[in-house]
């Protein structure tokens, strides 16, 4: 099936198998490997991207469902050579260890602030509960989201 969509501001057009998962499309057809596959069952969040402004787990979306959509992946967050405030906050606050969950975690964290610029710690923790991290114990990630909220005020 033919799909046309926008990824990180650029138009893409491909003929894809109907069963192709969006995460496989992004990683293997488009070559954007920043979004990761941690479970293929929507439970870990490593594949989280933004689809029409909403955070989605791209392992349980078919590529054909993204026809006409506007996607932002981790590769599209920085602009003009500058990190997004959330990326910078993850760096400053040591929000990443092995880094595998990090792209999805940053996309989910960005979504928290898109919806609520002043989240409490509890709201931050609730906002990333769909994203598993095995390294950090989440504390530095919570710090990062809080710092990003403060930086973007």
């Amino acid at each position: 099936m033919k799909i046309n969509l926008t990824i990180n501001g650029k138009p893409h057009s491909h003929d894809v198998e109907p069963r192709l998962l969006l995460i496989h499309y992004l990683r293997e057809v488009v070559g954007l490997t920043g979004s990761h596959i941690g479970c293929e069952t929507t439970l870990c969040g490593a594949c989280t991207i933004e689809m029409n402004g909403q955070a989605v787990k791209s392992c349980t979306v078919f590529a054909v469902q993204a026809d006409g959509a506007n996607l932002v992946t981790i590769e599209g967050l920085a602009s003009n050579g500058k990190h997004h405030a959330m990326q910078e906050a993850f760096w400053n606050q040591h929000g990443a260890q092995c880094g595998f969950c990090t792209p999805g975690m940053i996309m989910a964290s960005k979504q928290i602030l898109d919806r609520n610029p002043n989240p409490t710690d509890e709201e931050i923790r609730h906002g990333i509960e769909g994203n598993l991290c095995r390294c950090t114990g989440y504390q530095h990630i919570v710090n990062a989201v809080r710092a990003a909220a403060e930086a973007t005020k």
Partner: protein, 777 residues
Amino acid sequence: MATTITKTEKLIGKRIRRREDPRLITGTATYVDDMQLAGMHYASIVRSPHAAAKIRSIDIKAALAAPGVVAVFTGKDTEQVGPVPCGGSLPGLRVPHHHILATDRVYFVGHPVAVVVAADRYVARDAADLVEVDWEVLPAVADPEKALAPGAPPVHPQWPDNTAFTYHQEGGDIDKAFAEADVIVKQRIVSQRLVPVAMETRGVIADWRGADRALTLYTSTQVPHLVRTLVAGMLGLEENRMRVVAPEVGGGFGSKLNIYAEEALMGFVAMKINKPVKWIESRRENFLCTIHGRGHVDYFEVAAKKDGTILGIKLKLIQDLGSYHQLLTPVIPTLSVLMMPGLYRTQNIRADIVGVFTNCVPTDAYRGAGRPEATHGIERMVDILADELKMDPAEIRLKNFVQKEEFPFPTATGLMYDSGDYSAPLAKVLDLAGYQELRAEQAKAQAAGKLMGVGLCTYGEICGIGPSPATPAGGWESATVKIEPSGKVTVMTGSCHHGQGEETTFAMIAADELGIGIDDILVVRGDTAIVQYGIGTFGSRATAIGGTALYFALQEMKVKIKKFGAMLLESDDVTFEDGRVTCNKTGNSKPLAEIAGASYRAMKLPPNTEPGLNVTYFWEPPNFTFGFGAHFIVTDIDRDTGHIKIRRYIAVDDCGNILNPLIVDGQVHGGVAQGLGQALWEQAVYDDNGQLVTGEFMDYVMPRAHMMPWVESHHTITPSPVNPLGVKGVGEAGTIGASPALVNSVVDALSHLGVRHIDMPLTPEKIWKILQTAGKN
């Protein structure tokens, strides 16, 4: 929050943000699955749905006929490949031959039996379902104590008692200690099977260049050099023609400190099809086929005087090994024995391990590897003893600690504790917690019918594993320092960090020693074609041993620089600072880059000097290092639901000198999450047929952000005398401290109802059931 750094101030001890992070936060890091090689094929593995079965036949015709499939291999094809190796040796150890694909029989659910190779990932996966195996299902046993019972199904028919080994260790006079005791407390304590669950599953790409007889293996591993040596051996390849690359590695926690069947299998497939081949483990496979951790049933006995003095400790340890020995499977419980005295002075111990085969995936090293089990045991026993003697848990610990002036302290298990001040973190944690006030509050809460608990754990940890005689594969580590002609510095470490931040801490060490900016240093690891032989990252060893190897390489490098510097300066009495080498006699200085350039230009070489600036150092540590600390948890328990709320978590860890506090905090937080995961939620549950019931994230409860308490992380600092950096290790500390502190806290909340011990995980259901009966008899 990280500190902003100026160029040449000393970096050690500062909260410096990590140099590896820019690629991680932008999604530009390269993990195995991010790599595509020209002509690459994909492998999908057919696995056993049964825990025990004979293979009558395998029909691959339909799979082979599927469009796009290029090859299918079964155990008959791979029979000549060497067995998956076990590095541990114990007297009388029974080692089953571990084929990379099952030949005639399978031993656990997930056991690989065939591999399907296709040009497309989806085609390979579909065709795997077309492989037909005719099974003769056999009875299985999944519980180690049931496996030891008479008449249990034999996991390996040649060993009907399911016993892989027994191991006995004794120190002091245990019989005398128990004969003289005023009180003996006994408890069965389970450290349940856990799934390590690195967020990146395992993955392998094998690239075979037949004309050169050269195999490159890209694999998600903690130990690339060991993989090269051992997989080359399995495949009958010359080791120097094999290259192993661990690209970005998405977590390991011990699960990637191993040699896996799939690593050799992909090498085998690539050599057969003459194309690169990729296999990426699915999460389901990760649960079923990557090693598990823990799996202990421990029977503890502690003998003590009325005043709380511990006289001796006995332990009968039943270790669930699973069906095979992976790299370190049988030696993990021996680490538990080493640490069974904890921080306490007693010189009388007796330990008996029974290593038991079960029809489950093998257990092996998982964060802490034997030490959390030991610490959980002794720290629970000390609380049980305190309860028995009506003593305060803090007081009984203080009474039994090895004292500050007794170091180095020889333990009853044959270790030499390097340095410590065990009462310091305990005093600090009690002070931070407001211990006496909490006890007063608890009394009031109990009187009001509320359930509030206060729990302590004072742990010791073997870090810096370890001296070579104490390890199966060499316990040293290596470092190379190269200063290029332009003065830029490359550090190559035999450690293979995978999230621990050594790209930053090692650059900090080099920057401080050479007096240059951190941006002039690159740290490289994880490629056997680039990096000298190394051991790897595990056992809280990377900084203590790899960092020390780097330190000594830098000292030799400085001697070389001084020699070359004397060509350009007035003497070799110099200071390294601000990127320059300054003569202390004249005050004249030269940029390090100019000296480096001169060393390669080699126009006026000093006598007996080789050109260039290149030093490699292999460092063998004289001892382990021993970190320690005190963790403290306040819990409130909901009577109606059994839900445990952690009100406060305070950790005081002593990991020796701290190089980068930001990274140390991260290690503590992550370790605590895994320790609390075991204490509260996680458990690999096999049913009686050997089916893994908790085989997905839906069923296996890993800590999520909203489940974790805020961890207050503090430190005391007792430098290690074992290495010049004075560091000990912190990677596993949080995991070791957390589970006993949590269980002690909950038991403390329920002890007035007659509860003395609860086995992990402390699920709400378990607590609720206890509350239905506790205190009602």
